[in-house]
Amino acid sequence: MRKKRVLLSPLDPVHDIGLKMIKNALDEAGHTTFLLPPDVTPGEIVEEALDKKAEVILLSRTLGYGVAELLGRFVDLIEGAGIRHQVQLGIGGMAIKPELAAELGFDQGFGPKTPVEEAVAFVEGRNYVPTQEASTKKKGNLLRERTYDYHHEEINSLLEEISEKTLEWYREVDSPGVRRAELREAGSAGGQDYLELSSDSIRDFFKEGILPSGLRLIGEEEQKSLENVIATGRVENPRILQRQPHQPLVFIQYGTGCPFMDIAHIKGTEAWGADGVVHFDPSWGAKTEGLLAGLLSHEENGSVLSEKNLELIKKALEKSTLWQVRAHRGLNTPETVLLAGEAGADLTKINPVYGSLGGGTDPERLLADGLKAMEYAARYNMPFDMPTNEELCGVPAFKAFAGMLIVTQLGLALGAKPVLQPLFCYSPEMMLGGQMEDNYIDYNAAKVMALRGIIDAPIWAGAPIGFLTHTEERVQSAVSTSFHAGMAASLDIEGISIASTDEAYSGGPITLPARIDTLQGTGEAFRFLGSAGMQPTSRAEEWAEELTSNILRVLKEVAKNGSFLDSLYQGILGSKEEGAYPGRNGRRTVQKRR
């Protein structure tokens, strides 16, 4: 290939880095280049082109004002000088659109983010073929290399004591939720025995075909159309948000009500860098005994848990996407984990403490069901996280953490892999106590430091990070998520759940662009920080120590009480005064095992 003489000139008052990069690539390829300084007039460029006997002229323009007139004048001058047929003209930069360049008589226009290689191909008269790199995105490992070793002996021994007694109780009990899961396992979901253990709405559906209000069955034709969209919309080149291995995996939560809209959101968020997606079911599902069947759409928030809905969603997921189906707070906890495991979910969510103190389910029922669910989680090798959302009711973090650590030990004893989920939030405790008046870093950092000082377990902050810091204004909302994501990266935690910029908007469904907003913000936070990080003040360490000693005190109280379950009712892990109310759904349904 013949080497060429190339004149490069920025048509701006300042230099364009893009032209310098192209010059370097052309030099490396053996071409002769002449880079003019900034702020040169079109007339001077033409003179230089004549003087240097340029065969190619590459211009750049960043500023948008008057760009069409300026470039039009340049082309006129080139034509006036009689060299238009001797030179190839290329123009690129932020202000350039390929269609505008063509309209003005340039041979090629390069829009923003054009690869340097494309400009080199233009100079060399080659067609530019983008390198089709196979996506390198792999499914993330939320557990990393965490060992589950305890660093705090006294807490470890209390947890073992509480856990052993709780498991002794569990081996003696049974519940409709546990029995339905066992029937589902035996292939009898929807059968007579199953329906006897279910709510009226579930019986009406299976026996009479009556759907609860707001639900509809999705037709086959609709499903086929959706499958076509999915087939043509595979995410070939998903964005990878993390720049460093210590930066956390990023999860979004979906549950628009309709599995089709969920899939549209999932595909969009996968493309924009989500590492995992979390299935949210309707709130009434937590109060209903039994699960529906079929491909079902729901008019309100929360997507129905059914085998077909989950199958369809699974089919749409990219291989690199982690999928969590949550099961932490209702009367179908064991069945949900079983269904999730069968559908191929990677993760689930179980926390009998939050589910019973803040989620409305009776503690006894949810403890029995939660433990059964942990057995399924272990069987399907699905790590489960334990959200400590009771903090949002007003329960102090140390009490929520004491409960979470008990559940951690129970999960470990049952062979499962628990994931700690402290909230990165502006909780009522903080509002009243003022720990976050100065900054949002110290107290959240203290939570992570306290947990890390107790056990080497994976941490997935949630859910979503920045809870109660978001407003309806989208920039504020995205920035808040972005800062919290940066903090999570600085604290070396394994995962985060992020909100959309619709987090504080309650007037209607969340939109996909609102989800993309915060993924972009999170990516920018990771890019901004790289290996650097946010630094808490010395208060974080003091608060971490305070949290640890308070956790220890609560665990001693639970051990002294002798029953984890009774401690839930007695308010040791969150009292009514603090805002924790033992739930009533499913009360008195736990029986002695038959």
Binding site: V235, E236, P238, R239, G268, E270, W272
Partner: protein, 78 residues
Amino acid sequence: MDAKTRVVDALDIETFLICKNEEEGRRISAGLMESMGCSDFDLVYIHHEGIGARVRIRAYVNRPGDRYTWLEGGEKDA
């Protein structure tokens, strides 16, 4: 009163379009703005991946130096 005349400078449409590629996304964006009666528009941002494109489409109502529609007596075709 045409509500659009009170827009200080521009309307931004932020959305996600289901489309096969960026080119189709551009065409749909143009069609969307035309269907909304906006003739002076620009596609500020478009990025296609997977099932569609995230776009920010801008319809200018008043550009600096115009006789602004929001000034008394300044109405023009928005």
